[in-house]
């Protein structure tokens, strides 16, 4: 069974046809060419496929594309304002908070969701907020520093 879906992705109206059992992650990557979200585990443990769905952080591997009709999704591709990087993205670069980069889009989406709810998080808040994202290269310290720096910058 194929499902025809009309949805909003990063503010743009998008239509696609997908299999009834096809995860949103596969729709984003294989049908829409939005390859920022990565498949690490495919079972909701690693957070590499994190997107924001109707304002909530979710793993796109645990959402069906068929569920998306009339919904609104934010992905990493919508984070920068044209050529100008989001403060989180810039601080990840400035703080060397990535090596291979596979986990980075997921961390950025999770950090974005965290800072919207809590613009002034403690280190503990950040570590809990990002506990659903795994990084196997850097360890988490530089990531936490980058989020702290971005939060400070965004508070102005």
């Amino acid at each position: 069974m194929s499902v025809h879906v009309k949805t909003t992705i990063n503010g743009d109206q998008v239509e696609f046809v997908c299999g009834a059992d096809e995860p949103l992650l596969d729709v984003l990557r294989n049908r829409l060419g939005l390859t920022g979200a990565k498949e690490g585990c495919g079972t909701g443990d690693c957070g590499a496929c994190s997107v924001i769905l109707d304002g909530r952080l979710v793993c796109s591997c645990l959402v069906l594309g068929a569920e998306m009709d009339g919904r609104s999704v934010e992905t990493i591709e919508g984070m920068a304002d044209g050529a100008k990087l989001h403060p989180l993205q810039q601080q990840f670069i400035d703080n060397a908070a990535l090596q291979c980069g596979v986990c980075t889009p997921g961390f950025l989406m999770a950090a974005q969701a965290l800072l919207r709810k809590n613009p002034d998080p403690t280190e503990e808040d950040i570590r809990f907020g990002l506990a659903g994202n795994l990084c196997r290269c850097t360890g988490y310290d530089k990531i936490v520093r980058a989020v702290q720096a971005a939060a400070k910058e965004m508070r102005g």
Binding site: T43, G44, L62, L64, A131, G132
Partner: protein
């Protein structure tokens, strides 16, 4: 596989009831989609209940709170009245998985997945919550502790869905708490867990209590002897010792790489004591 997203519980029930193949309810999907990915289940039909408006709402009712079957656990934390009345339940539900998982997972799904280690279930049992069920033969209610029938099995019949979880009104001078043991600080499944809900009188004497244990038997356990051990006391050391012993005595755990029988049995008592202390303080006891 067919995907359906009906607008009413009645339509959802009809779809599930008439399906000849294997049919599953899709709430948050954080268990179902993982099982599909692993090939553990191959549904012919998936019925998404998130388009049913009434099932997406948290309502304050004459008898307490009604939490729709499709309400994600993250939404519970945003309802100030619910957090104030049932902090233990809200905390338990938001220990499930990560922030990403909490954005999707539901307490009704946690219950119907029927894992003995489900975090929200002991807290709901201690709270005395019921579930509202709609099925082909009409509606009924069940106590939360009567829903699981075993590991991965429930007492729901074909076509029945949990439309809401009904939490009772919080009594004056009462408090609840949930604790679990995991070897890490986050993103893990309970090795042992315990929830306590109690009410005290003006002198700090416990008048009512419910104690539930998770991950120490095939289903979450309501431990009546543990409640008896603290009712009529001010949660003094003797009462806590009896509570600890009653909880350990109720355990029938498995031995696995995550915890031995001996460890789970011992820690169940420790968690019960600590959860009771938190619940007692939340009730206003000193």
């Amino acid at each position: 596989m067919r995907y359906e997203a009906p607008a009413t519980a009645k339509e959802a029930v009809a779809l599930l009831a008439k399906e000849k193949g294997t049919a599953y309810v899709l709430a948050g999907g954080t268990d179902l989609l993982v099982k599909m990915k692993a090939g553990m289940v191959e549904p012919d039909l998936v019925v998404d209940i998130k388009r049913i408006k009434a099932m997406r709402e948290i309502k304050k009712t004459a008898t307490g709170f009604s939490i729709g079957g499709a309400v994600p656990c993250a939404a519970l934390t945003e309802n100030a009245a619910l957090v104030k009345a049932w902090p233990g339940v809200v905390e338990a539900a938001n220990l499930i998985g990560s922030k990403q998982v909490q954005g999707r997972c539901t307490m009704s799904g946690n219950l119907c997945n029927a894992s003995p280690a489900a975090d929200s279930v002991p807290a709901l049992v201690a709270a005395g919550a019921k579930v509202a069920i709609t099925g082909p033969k009409g509606s009924r209610k069940l106590a939360v502790e009567d829903v699981p029938a075993g590991v991965g099995r429930t007492n729901l019949k074909k076509g029945e869905i949990v439309t809401s979880i009904e939490l009772p009104k919080k009594l004056a001078k009462s408090g609840d708490a949930y604790l679990r043991f995991i070897p890490r600080t986050e993103m893990d499944i309970a090795v042992v867990s315990c929830a306590v809900n109690l009410t005290i009188d003006g002198k700090g004497v416990i008048t009512k209590a419910r104690v539930a244990l998770g991950a120490v038997a095939v289903t979450v356990l309501l431990v009546k002897d543990a409640a008896k051990a603290i009712i009529g006391t001010k949660l003094d050391d003797a009462a806590k010792a009896k509570l600890t012993a009653a909880c350990s005595a109720a355990c029938k755990p498995i031995d696995d790489k995550r915890g031995t029988i001996e460890f789970r049995t011992d820690v169940a008592g420790v968690l019960a004591r600590r959860a009771a202390e938190t619940a007692y303080a939340r009730a206003g006891g000193k």
